[in-house]
Symmetry: C2
Subunit: 259 residues, 2 copies
């Protein structure tokens, strides 16, 4: 350390903060809806409401892209759709492969929003020989053996992994070796990839667990202590010298419960 720049800056991309990038698709979707209703212009207030953010944030976000609004008027819908699309790289075609055509993979292949903006399902790949040749969403599934060739031939740079967790890292490695540099991972595993490869994950059970956390809190606000049964293994302190040494998160209240 101490060498000035750390391992990887990686946070801002081209001056555009990551948090902003993550919201651009949201704005784009709202704008597309307006465009379809032939709305010519929107104010930051209106668009922000449609995208579910507040207007100051939206204006700040847009300010990173440039000055695309008109003071006193708002933003030209069509123009902004184009600008954001371009910024996101959606004015070009992205061939995508989906690996793992189980329930989820098939659902993804059938998902309309896939094809809509710039993305095109170039191939469906599965390890099961029995799947090979079967059409899913109008595309014949190909065997994993073909993976490298498919990637190369189609110039695929984005791969979607919808395999079981056990196969994900291996598939990932092969995708990366074949030239894929962006991966969307639906398998419940942490993928390790070389520098320069982006991974985003979509994880149902993580999302549910986060909801459960907040849900539990809500319940706890009404009835202070625990309520439901505890069907899970009881808490056994590993091997402390004493017994009354657990330090709670707030302050230093010992193991004794007040209520």
């Amino acid at each position: 350390m101490a060498t000035g720049r750390t391992h990887r800056p990686a946070t801002r991309s081209r001056g555009i903060p990551e948090a902003t990038v993550a919201r651009l698709p949201l704005y784009l979707r709202a704008l597309t809806a307006l465009s379809e209703r032939s709305v010519p212009t929107v104010s930051s207030e209106e668009l922000a409401a449609a995208a579910g953010v507040n207007s100051a944030k939206l204006r700040k976000d847009f300010s990173y892209l440039g000055s695309y609004g008109t003071r006193g008027v708002g933003y030209d819908v069509e123009y902004l759709v184009y600008q954001i699309s371009r910024e996101l790289g959606l004015t070009q075609d992205w061939p995508v492969v989906i690996v793992g055509i189980g329930n989820l993979g098939a659902a993804l292949a059938n998902y309309g929003g896939f094809a809509s903006r710039g993305f095109r399902v170039a191939a469906l790949i599965d390890a099961d020989p029995a799947m090979a040749g079967k059409p899913v969403a109008g595309i014949a599934v190909q065997h994993t053996d073909e993976l490298e060739k498919i990637i190369t031939d189609n110039g695929v740079s984005i791969g979607v992994i919808a395999t079981p967790a056990g196969a994900a890292q291996q598939v990932c490695d092969r995708l990366v070796a074949a030239g894929v540099t962006s991966i969307l991972n639906f398998a419940p595993t942490v993928l390790s990839v070389p520098e320069g490869v982006d991974v985003r994950k979509v994880d149902l059970s993580i999302e549910l667990q986060i909801l459960a956390f907040h849900e539990q809190r809500k319940a706890g606000e009404e009835a202070s202590s625990q309520d439901a049964a505890q069907p899970v293994t009881p808490p056994v302190r590993p091997a402390p010298a004493d017994d009354s040494d657990r330090k709670g998160p707030d302050g230093d209240v010992p193991a004794v419960m007040p209520a």
Copy 2:
């Protein structure tokens, strides 16, 4: 402003930062894997590597839960599994309903990770009368008419929306009215919910677009300008007085490009 506390603090939950909460499921998964391999203890370094974060962050995260480690040794795997499970509310049973049993809904219903930790699919609900009674993942699909009754009878507080975008808000409203206070939304729409209801969204096309953004940047680093064809509508400036007024994001360089 000036009134001290703003509209809603909402950020920290019970002293635990939201960012930390979002990582707890990751730690839990890594710990569970260690537990299955009968590993008794882990250091923050090892666990962090398994979870794909850095060790300082992990230790800080755990510090919000309490002091559950042993200096010089590390963390007791079993004990930590329990503590995190409890913190996340996974020591209780969460009945969940899935609304919209299309490709995606079926995939979710079949997803093993669902049932694994604390979550139980209480019902599958679909608006298509033809689906009613059909078994998906071993559970008979019920019609939307039953929604309210199902929620009430099963004490469901978490709902998963896997309907088409057009139906999502309506379904959401009904879920909330029936008592659901946490929603996991797979439909590509912004849901509006009353205060006190949590919504998390999982959105394939947003994730892809974020990847495309970074992918485009990578390509741009090698060949400076654009490369592929532009099959989308050209950029037409709405109605400015002049023509050379676009202000780029960086500094105040006019429309003229140097290279």
